[in-house]
Symmetry: C2
Subunit: 315 residues, 2 copies
Amino acid sequence: MSGSRVLLTGGSGFIGSRAIAPLLAAGYEIHALGRSRGASEGVTWHELDLLDDRAAGRVVADVAAEQLLHLAWYAEPGRFWAAPENLDWVAASVRLLRAFAEAGGRRAVIAGTCAEYDWSDPVERCSELDYGSRQATPLRPATLYGASKHATRLVAAAYAPQAGLSLAWGRVFLLYGPGEDQRRLVPQVAGALLAGEPAQTSDGAQVRDFMHVDDVAAGFAALLASNVEGPVNIASGEGVSIADVLALIAAAAGRRELLRLGALPRRAGEPDRLVADTRRLSGEVGFAPAIALEQGIAETVDALAAAGREGGRGR
Amino acid sequence: MSGSRVLLTGGSGFIGSRAIAPLLAAGYEIHALGRSRGASEGVTWHELDLLDDRAAGRVVADVAAEQLLHLAWYAEPGRFWAAPENLDWVAASVRLLRAFAEAGGRRAVIAGTCAEYDWSDPVERCSELDYGSRQATPLRPATLYGASKHATRLVAAAYAPQAGLSLAWGRVFLLYGPGEDQRRLVPQVAGALLAGEPAQTSDGAQVRDFMHVDDVAAGFAALLASNVEGPVNIASGEGVSIADVLALIAAAAGRRELLRLGALPRRAGEPDRLVADTRRLSGEVGFAPAIALEQGIAETVDALAAAGREGGRGR
């Protein structure tokens, strides 16, 4: 067992693939578990299906890492909100945590979601804990995905103290960046505009908290290295309307005239506002995002344009 | 698939073994899953480890039951409150529910616990839902066992509507009866008294809701046959002090002078009062317990005395 050995799940995913660089920079020895192998430089990959608890348990016991960064989950765009696969990931996650603790693990960070919060009565900022007059935002997930993450946290939080584990739970809000699945908002809109096609969207008045995936990944690495416990929002703390984000995409693509705001209805159950209180991340973890939204969107659109020139749009 | 086929887990356990008779009486065809085979009359047993999700999934798919009564959980006396096995049972339970739904299941009843409720601020009665001026009792489990059951319910409740499942969650309070594990309160005290030894207990001022295991099992069978959804307390609704229960045991054993109330401290975190609101069970399910506490305790002590005469105390 090495004091700086970290078990990483989801290492080939959107966040996990970006977490490797900051983890390596922080001096961790990375053991990545998952079905697909990602970047290899400096990473020991263990190819297995995390839903196969026995196979995962054997590798977790062998690696005997002191730290765990568990980012893997079912993430198929559109489907993940209601997919029965969420149940498998609850199961795999709690068993993974037990296997990790029993192999000598000491510190675990698991990815949660803003979908754990109550969306029915939007607050100015979603707070993880009580802060003076601002009470913790109620946890009342409206989706199976949110309920499954919430349930996993409840079990993990009850288990950690008696297993001698230090546990933090990083709640991710909206994220974007190069390499995002093309079915998600930013690449879908940018892809249409870059192809010279109109992009139909909802009215865009919803206010969200966007963070570049590289900042999200670096935030997780910083949280892991800290001794902060409990829920921590991994977010920018800045509210921006979807319409403003779409305008940044259109400006970067040079096709503002192709935006069709209001052409589509909003998805049922979407809150008007979803912005994180980031006092724990900034004050306790000491992490601040480095990438401004305008710059990040511009780079993301440029990357999509470059990919389009190389190999067609790939849609 | 049969409209009256029920998949039963925990069928050789304390509650499950008593559930077989009322289920058969209600006309169900019973398929019991678990490691140990119980009573065979009228029951098809499938011997397997429910923690082996793949093996369980195959049998669940083959049986294709319309109904599920999931009572199995880790229940080792003393250890179950904090045991890491709770994590395995969260995992096995959510996977079992998914397998059941995907095999055509329509109605599921799962065993919950009074340990899901907030014990830190005892209420007159723990209510599952809001009733007029009485609000639902907060769910703030203080133990890993309670948190694990609570988390399982959250996932099941979010999953059920989209899987087309009717789901009820039966919260068990305290139970007793012949066949209970000898390390639990009633058999332990009765065993000592019947052997002519002093029985050391806490002060016994805690008020609890006791129900005979046959009534608990019959309550589950009635809940399954009903179309009531959501959480339902399976309890008597009668508050009785532990001291009064101990007095009943001592009276039945004829050894009142051997009771040593106050010789032991209370277990940390035990609430002063834990009594169920049973309006859902009585009013909506239409079930009323049949066995009065005095009679039930007397029969339980008689059964222990008979077992002791036959084979020693078996402790």
